[in-house]
């Protein structure tokens, strides 16, 4: 049965139809929430909040977008509200327009990904993503983690495609700059050790 049919039946108080929508989307909603909020307890709260809002709002859902877009929009908004509460005092994205490019970008890219990925680097990446302003993190997660298109993300977040592309680029640069700092710091002892010989 299609999502559209399940939505139609849910509007007519068919509890099993809404249950089927929950079964279809709960893992995706949880995954999206966890990637945005990066805490399992909060992600579960977002999951419950999302489906409660969907249950309450299904009768007024007009079907202008697909059910999946609608449910991801509720998820993204719920996660954003939680992130904003946690990140007080908030830094608006307009205020966070620091220089995106460090003065010196040393090339730390030779070698396969697997060789670079240490536990320490994974921790650094987690911290870099957690440090993204919430509005950037929404776009970053939907585009680069969930691998949605610019148009899909724009529809979910009610943004222009140009705004999605701009936020994604700035988010990527922020993560890259953090990793550049990590590689620069981790290279220093080696350089000193090499210089000593």
């Amino acid at each position: 049965m299609t999502d559209e049919e399940l939505v139609r039946r849910s509007k007519e108080d068919d509890e099993r139809a809404f249950g089927e929508l929950v079964s279809r989307y709960e893992s995706k909603v949880y995954s999206l929430a966890l990637r945005m909020i990066r805490n399992p307890e909060d992600a579960e709260d977002v999951l419950q909040d999302t489906f409660l809002r969907a249950y309450r709002g299904i009768k007024s859902f007009q079907g202008a977008s697909t059910f999946s877009t609608w449910i991801y929009r509720i998820t993204a908004n719920s996660a954003l509200m939680r992130l904003r509460k946690k990140q007080l005092p908030t830094v608006s994205i307009e205020d966070s327009d620091e220089r995106e490019t460090p003065v010196n970008i040393a090339d730390w890219t030779p070698g396969p990904v697997e060789q670079l990925l240490s536990r320490e680097l994974q921790h650094e990446m987690d911290e870099a993503i957690e440090a993204l302003p919430p509005e950037f993190r929404q776009v970053f997660v939907l585009r680069d983690m969930e691998e949605m298109s610019n148009a899909e993300v724009a529809e979910i977040l009610d943004l222009s495609v140009a705004a999605v592309k701009s936020r994604l680029h700035r988010a990527r640069l922020k993560v890259r700059n953090r990793l550049a700092g990590y590689f620069s710091d981790s290279a220093k002892p080696k350089r000193r050790a090499m210089g000593a010989h």
Binding site: E15, G19, Y55, V113, L168, R176
Partner: protein, 89 residues
């Protein structure tokens, strides 16, 4: 002829193959000739590879998560119908 600033601002579109072919060719030429922009391109490319590699397996829902969600929705259904919510176990 693209400036370094224009190249840096367009790196994500270039990486996502989201630009016109003539600009792609200009980007290629510039990145090939400019070591600073090449380092920017290489490090941004590697950053994306690293986090996609690390984060490509999202965690599964925790044990009991589905049941708790069903319970929350049952309580909401009872409330919306004016009945007593079921007791939480």
């Amino acid at each position: 002829m693209l400036t370094c600033k224009e190249v840096l601002e367009s790196l994500s579109d270039y990486l996502d193959a989201d630009m016109k072919e003539d600009i792609v060719n200009e980007m290629k030429r510039h990145i090939g000739a400019c070591s600073d922009c090449r380092a920017e391109f290489d490090t941004l490319t590697m950053t994306i590879k690293l986090y996609k590699h690390e984060q490509n397996n999202p965690s599964a829902m925790p044990v009991g998560c589905h049941d708790r969600l069903v319970k929350v929705l049952e309580i909401e259904k009872m409330r919306s119908k004016g009945g007593d919510p079921p007791k939480m176990v």
